[in-house]
Amino acid sequence: MTPQPDRAIRSICIVGAGITGLSAALAFARSLPMVQLTLVETPADPANLTDRLPSGLPVMRGFHELIGLSERDLVRAAIATHRLATRFDGWSHSGASWLHAHGDVGQPADGIAFHQLWVAAHARGDAEPFGHYALAAVLAEAGRFTHPSPEPASPLAAIDYGLRLDPIAYHQFLDQRCAMLGIVRVKAGPLGVERRSDGGIASLHCSDGATIAADLFLDCTGPSATLLSAVDQAFDDWSAWLPCDQFMVEDGGSAEPGCRDTIIATVSGWRWLMPLAQHAITATCLASAFADPGETGKTVSVMAGARPHPWVHNVLALGDAALTMAPLLPINLTLVHNAIVRALTLLPGRDCHAVELAEYNRRTALEACRVRDFAALHMLRSGRQSGALWQALASTPPPDSLGHTLDQFAARGRLPFYEEEIFGPHAWAATLLGLGVLPVAIDPAAGRIDAALARQAMARFAQSLRDIAARALPYPEYLGRMTATN
């Protein structure tokens, strides 16, 4: 008998058995062993990006631990590879390539953030490209990899990495885990939704006549958000800043595993090359308003935006049902994971009272806002001079919060604080500087650092990273060793 017999959620129905649904099933099953879970398989949606290009930030490793997935197992099964950095080509004011690396960049001095030191050094002509000070970037460019050190004082503690996952193999892996946990599964065609008088969902009606009732429904159906849209249709449209509304994922042929992704700007969008364990994937993204008709033949539509209330009554939208965007940032898995952990941390009572849902929606909205801003930064400040798409974007006013970040950074290299950011200051600084948004003035506090000492320290530091990289194993060899022995 539960200590909260009238409050506790007794049953959860997860609709959608793609990567989002399976991840939710595993996490909820482990955290809430007394809750009855039903997983409803619905037809796969080709527009569901989490299933097509599952990719996450370093924090995803914590979620895998939570659901009992070992990185070693994923690597051995040729499902996962490690991503240290993404290189952006043709995507800057100068035309030079730049890297968005995971982990730390440089070292602070006397409490001053490294990017401020870099800006000061750059103004003096003393700085190498920003990416040269990120160990993950240096390793990635050299095609080498090593795991970070857990010792905070070790230079290798500056490394961090995300994972990319073979979509089909990862899905199968999660599928097997769900089966091992004995999670009940139902196959369903189109679903009918029976509402409660208070607006929530009482049950789902399957085409074969079966009815599934539950206290809580997780909508993991992808961009169409079949369940959530039955109770709430609100959608924040981001297409003004993120106009790429068509994408295509293709096999990129066999390729050596690499720990660096490449994103190449094109006239009407971009291409993302993602090397997996045994082959590469290419995602092509286009803005249909600016693309040739021929280009959009085999593409799938996606509308950039997010649900402002992903949790309404007893319906919680996760993954693409909550937020959609053409793939530019390696975050769709991270958004799913964060939402699942947030939902568990804030799990309301059975009555899903508005007061409890408000806190979930508040945090989710803050996170979504900065995801939008970070993506929009790439689009609005691409630095590209040619192409109608890019010219139109360059004169598009940014959302207020991005405008604030741009104003502060361009004026003085300052990054204003926002709650629930999934991209830290290093990521923002690397992207702003890479794109070519250079502060016009040096932060006054950075002025107290002796220029000659800074130049020496930075040069030594950059060299030390090259030395470390030279000693690291080439990635295919490192991977081979991980998969070979115990």
């Binding site: 200590p3 909260q4 007394m34 204003p416 506090a445």
Partner: protein
């Protein structure tokens, strides 16, 4: 490298805690960007009353490059683990709001929820028994925390209790040794630019004219620049926080060891503080003049003090509130000129420190940018508003009905931001989360639970394990924490070690 001529002339008006903290921080962190001059009138030496602080002050002092032991000797400081609140929720109850966490999460779930579950099952325990800082305080023990995040000894923090009239001179010695200038005298008029309204110079009583680019108003309630000169608007909060007077008096230390915490005792028309320093105790009664006369307040304070009075009671007047714009034109108000919240949670120095940090982060490069000034105000306002809500909670979350004062605060309508937090916690024991600024989740939990607000529901993940297992885990934790604390030295011994560290 910026040359001497390009440095901004910063004039700080007022030489109390806020003024000299600002001077110290500016010369330390922006030596190439500004020249600092502080203007103050001659001060009469008064016996210090005692001020308590928050752990953030350690970062401030450390960032200046100062040694903790030296700092503690100069300010007669003791260690502070939290504040022991008496008679707020109900007369006869007390709880200590610690600097620290309640144990740590178990299987990803906050300990509060396990505690609540066991309480519902008839196995009640004291939530505060899971806070290592509380156990330390109860036993008058102290040792500094460790930095290894995996260890329970990293789950608490500490601040200081010191003689406020010694802290400002300590900051002054640092500031003057590092390039700040001091001018003694009274400001008799303020010159402004006729078009922009910016302050351009101060005129002193001896006729000297002090010109500046940026003015920091640390003149306290007088608010000479931001208030009297710029007439900058004030947002009043006295309907939520009616206390507008304090009477303060130092007393001799009682025999026995010095407590490593501040005490706050609710009274009929406010509350009384007790701050133990190295060789005296600071006392004060913060009260609402609408509910208590000055004479009665002084009498109540004198009656309540344990040791012998070391000076006559001294009266202070204030109002709860803040400037709508703490940075207005080229005047940045820091300290009491910027805003005031009663010292119920020792936030005065914290607010000044935060403001100074924001000024350093947003220091003008050429002309003052309106966007930077707006950002400064945004950051400062967030801190004031959140702390305001937290203080209101101490008054509002009460069952006391023994005076008009308590009836007022118990029944008043509180800010929406606070009401939402109360509603959420009452429902499910959750706290609205933010990572910037005060106060964090454990603090909210301490005051809510300490004052008798117990959530109706809790995280059902805490219901998963069998009762016996949860009971055992909690008991083991209490025992483990008790063992860790038992191995710590007494507070007095820790203070002696500190003093010896200087002598060595």
């Amino acid at each position: 490298m910026a040359d001497h001529l390009a440095r901004k002339k910063v004039i700080i008006v007022g030489g109390g805690t806020a003024g000299w903290m600002a001077a110290a921080a500016l010369v330390r962190h922006l030596p190439h960007a500004c020249e600092v001059r502080l203007v103050e009138s001659a001060e009469i030496g008064i016996v210090g009353v005692g001020e308590a602080t928050l752990p953030h002050i350690r970062n401030f002092v450390e960032a200046l490059g100062l040694d903790e032991a030296d700092f503690m000797r100069a300010t007669q400081a003791t260690f502070k683990l939290g504040i022991d609140f008496h008679d707020f929720g109900r007369i006869g109850t007390n709880y200590l709001h610690p600097f620290g966490d309640f144990g740590r999460r178990i299987n990803g779930v906050e300990l509060l929820h396990y505690w609540r579950r066991m309480q519902a099952e008839g196995e009640d325990s004291d939530l505060f028994a899971y806070s290592i800082a509380n156990i330390m305080a109860a036993q008058n023990r102290f040792a500094p925390p460790v930095t290894d995040g995996d260890h329970f000894l990293s789950t608490y923090n500490y601040a200081y209790q010191f003689d406020a009239t010694l802290f400002a001179p300590y900051m002054r010695r640092f500031a003057e040794a590092n390039g700040a200038s001091r001018t003694e005298g009274r400001v008799i008029s303020v010159e402004q630019n006729p078009e922009s309204g910016d302050v351009t110079a101060l005129v002193m009583d001896d006729g000297t004219r002090i010109a500046g680019d940026l003015f920091v108003d640390c003149s306290g309630f007088a608010a000479l620049l931001i208030g009297k000169t710029l007439q900058s608007e004030w947002e009043d909060w006295s309907h939520w926080l009616p206390c507008d007077r304090a009477v303060a008096m130092p007393s001799t230390s009682p025999d026995g060891s010095i407590e490593p915490y501040t005490r706050a005792t609710a009274m009929a028309a406010g509350w009384r503080w007790r701050i133990p320093l190295q060789s005296r105790v600071g006392n004060g009664y913060v009260y609402s003049s609408a509910h208590l006369s000055d004479e009665d307040a002084a009498e109540a304070l004198v009656r309540s003090v344990e040791g012998a009075a070391m000076a006559e009671p001294r009266q202070l007047r204030f109002r709860a509130g803040r400037r709508k714009r703490s940075w207005d034109k080229n005047v940045v108000a820091v300290g009491l000129a910027s805003g005031f919240l009663e010292p119920l949670e020792s936030t005065s120095i914290y607010l000044a420190q935060g403001a100074i940090q924001q000024l350093i982060d947003l220091f003008p490069i050429d002309d003052i940018r309106a966007a930077d000034r707006a950002e400064y105000n945004r950051m400062v306002d967030i801190e004031y508003d959140r702390i305001r809500d937290f203080l209101i909670l101490h008054y509002h979350a009460t069952k006391r009905d023994d005076s008009d004062f308590w009836n007022h605060v118990r029944t008043m309508t509180v800010p929406d931001s606070l009401q939402e937090k109360l509603d959420l916690f009452r429902r499910s024991g959750r706290i609205a989360r933010y990572s910037h600024g005060l106060f964090h989740e454990p603090s909210w939990i301490a005051v809510l639970v300490g004052q008798g607000i117990v959530p109706q529901g809790w995280d059902q993940r805490a219901d998963a394990a069998p009762s016996a297992a949860v009971k055992q885990t909690l008991a083991s934790l209490r025992s483990h924490l008790g063992g860790l604390v038992g191995a710590m030295p007494g507070h007095d011994s820790a203070l002696k070690r500190c003093a010896a560290a200087i002598a060595a």
